[in-house]
Amino acid sequence: MNILELHDLTIRTTDGRTLVDGLSLALAPGERLGLIGESGSGKSLTSLAVLGLLPAGMTASGRVVLAGAPITGASERELTGVRGRDAAIVFQEPLTALDPLMRVGRQIAGPLGRRRGLKGTALRQAVTAALEQVRLPDPERVARAFPHEISGGQRQRVALAMALACEPKLLIADEPTTALDVTVQAELLTLLDTLVRERDMALLFVSHDLAVVAKIADRVLVMRNGRAVETGEVREIVGAPREEYTRELVNSARRLESALDLRSGR
């Protein structure tokens, strides 16, 4: 059984604009799919629709099936049961995902307490374990810190720890490294790769950056103006894009990258 299936997903605004247009995809357990596109391609909306998190004023039609259960048309209560357990999401900007007035430890304790019914010492230990899993040094100190007291890379690790707290089968990551410095990005991608492998999770990785997607995903789906342009193995898409638009994306990325080669070749 697929962990995620989208059938003809269409997202419209109330004033009738179509932002995602008839998108279908399937993700098997443990599979890693990169959703790539430029701004306005609908990639982030697609990832939000998977958890029924579309902003007010947008409606989804078609079918979203997560771990066998329908998401489109589900009640808020049913959705709450699914979020975090079947699939969890990490966003681009960890500062907006974290409550600035709450210590990091308490924020992670939230889902752990609710989902696993942990309390007291057991809960505290689980929080420390969750922070250790995302390779945060000195987890006790981080647990006591407020979000503004730790670095951007550490915040994104905390957001990741929260997402992983309830052991989801699917992790959705929406531009998780875009706001980070390149060295921190490299570390986080390695961590993400390890965690997804260790836990045998499926991964839906949303990004505008082909090189980043190529590092973490097996398969890629290229989106433009709300539609799927093409899909395939990362290496095939990057090596021999079939569609004109994909070719333009790959060529642009290669053209910029080639500047680095010329320089280092000297």
Partner: protein
Amino acid sequence: MKPVPELKPVLELENASFAYRGRTDPVVADIALPVESGQSLALVGESGAGKTTLLRMLLGLARPTSGAVRFDGDELRPRDREQMTRFRRDVQCVFQDPYSSLDPRRRVGGIVAEPLRSLGIDTRRTAGPKVAAALERVGLPADAAERYPHEFSGGQRQRIAIARATVCEPRVLLADEPVSALDVTTRVKVVELLGELKREHGLTLVMVSHDLSVVASLCERTAVLERGRVVEQGPTAQVLGAPAHPYTARLVASVPRLPTAAGPG
């Protein structure tokens, strides 16, 4: 043809340090950085390393707590109106976000003409031909002057910002992450545009960028900052191609690369 580097740098940071008022620990310390004509300079490093502070000092927006900023060999004196007028004419800037750097209530023609008017070079009436030339230079249609910023895409807005910055034909363009808010296909085109302005109009760039491929495309020289200090500077080919400092090496190694068509990349 590249202009022969002049004896005097156009702009120079001379052992410059900057600390916020009431703080003793400087944001940047002892920066010695010349900008020579025809030798575009990139400032790279992590967030918080002090790149933007250096740029602000070079723009005269922040005064060094110690050391000096020199323009054509003379110390920059923000109260010297005659010098500041020459400085503003020769040193212009472009920022990262093309959405917040253009006044939404003004037509593009007025926005682009602004430096000409504020520097007393032209009046509204006589600015027209120069505005048209600047818009053409950045690849925008002439009727763009009559329209408003919201009618343009992100890439086009960044072109408008570049047109405004180059309308008075400056020698130096300071750019803070000029292409990082743009999609990759647009980014390539704006990088090409900046390259053209360098070649055809002798513009020297001083650019802050976290994107090393953009740096390698546009800048002859690179300075690497780590925690407020320049740890390495020199020709870009040398700094990025054969890094001498471990931090630079880590930076270069962290850049994600596309897999090569041939095999594992």
